[in-house]
Amino acid sequence: MASEGPRPDEVVVVAAHLGPGAPAGLAPSPSTVSSRARVLDAALACVARFGVTKTTIEDVAREARLSRATLYRVFPGGRDELVAALVSREVDRFFSVLTRRMDGCPNLADKLETFLTSSSAQLAAHDGLRVVLGHEPEIVLPYLSFAHFDRVLAVCARFLETYLSPPLGAEDARRVGEWLVRLVLSSALCPPGEVEAAVSLDSARPLASTRPVRLEEIPQPTAGRLVKNFLLPGIEVLVARSGRGSSDRSFATRP
């Protein structure tokens, strides 16, 4: 276990950008848009190398080949604003990739499967996230459990609602959206292989070493089985209960 946590302000900043209604800031001028993207790219490269805590404004300026002054002009709030903007941009990218993939799906069953595979693949492939989870897990993990995870669920469920209603009503669609996110996080953070290898939990024999925390991609066959065996039967129950259409599973393959 790490003996030091993230600075409280870092946690607050990251939290603000995981939550709904992140501050939009002032409308940037066209010239700052490109510097902004350049700085954020550099910041991501630094985080993927050093982690969040050890990345300094100087590191980012050097990586971006910009002066410190330029960097502070683009991000007057300095390091905290930069970290917050980076989190915000990466979250936006995550959802825009999902949008592209899911919009191309012919039916509900396909959309569900694509969400499971694409979201977990993106999380697993994110260089910055991998380094942060491996070396400073205390920055991210609190957002993936208990009450903070409820907020993450709510944000993702709002995104998923449009893909799930119809066949579901708005409230059911958000619940099913949360259900998908639960499955992604559980499979990614606690992969089947590690459950198989788990020794029994015993305070007399705690783990010899703490396993490195990482996120794993959900393989397509696993995602397909989750959809077929659990998600579609559950959605069928919700659809039948709300009296929306027949209680068969044809909604899954209808465009």
Binding site: P142, P192, A198, P233
Partner: protein, 197 residues
């Protein structure tokens, strides 16, 4: 005997965490509270402070699920077991003063430890459900281990984060169990009785 000393240290360490939090609990303090020397403490916990804290979290997690298993021991069928289990677990998390205080004040110290242990927790819950699925016919094509793994993961997820579901409301919990948890196991309305255990 060795186990008693070890358990005494773990209990003393829990007392320190309750009084002062995780970050402020030192090895010296644990040794003093347990009435053992530093050398003895290191003999049982070569990993030092982090290993002691890890053992405290394991012990408390195990106790949590042992109490939960007792609460649902008499359930006549799977739906009742899941509904009553989720209601009881949700209440236990909400009312667990120490857990709630640590989540509010030191989530960065507590949550990574719980995450590291999550495969153990899932494996334990999976074993619990697998034993109860034995002898039952599940939907065609669904394996018992796959079903137990799925139910274990969802139950754990809901115990931590209820999301949009009101887990104090028995009707909502029943609806949740019938749709998200059990619909894939057996056809709706099909009984899933449990033998007395």
């Amino acid at each position: 005997m060795a186990r008693d000393v070890r358990m005494g240290i773990v209990e003393a360490a829990y007392g320190c965490v309750v009084r002062r939090g995780i970050g402020a609990t030192s090895l010296e303090e644990v040794a003093r509270a347990a009435g053992v020397s530093r050398a003895t403490l290191y003999r049982y916990f070569p990993g030092g402070r982090d290993e002691v804290i890890g053992a405290v979290v394991s012990w408390q997690t195990l106790s949590f699920f042992e109490v939960l298993a007792q609460a649902v021991a008499g359930a006549p069928d799977l739906e009742t077991l899941l509904v009553e289990g989720l209601l009881a677990a949700h209440r236990a998390v909400e009312e667990h003063a120490v857990l709630q205080r640590l989540l509010a004040t030191e989530p960065q110290l507590l949550v990574p430890q719980l995450t590291v242990e999550s495969p153990q927790i899932v494996a334990m819950l999976k074993g619990f459900f697998l034993a109860r699925f034995a002898g039952h016919r599940l939907r065609a094509g669904l394996e018992h281990a796959e079903a137990a793994d799925y139910v274990a993961r969802l139950v754990l997820s809901f115990i931590g984060s209820p999301g949009r579901w009101d887990l104090d409301d028995r009707d909502q919990v029943r609806e949740l169990v019938r749709s998200e948890i059990m619909a894939g196991l057996v056809a709706p309305g099909e009984p899933f009785e449990l033998s007395a255990s």
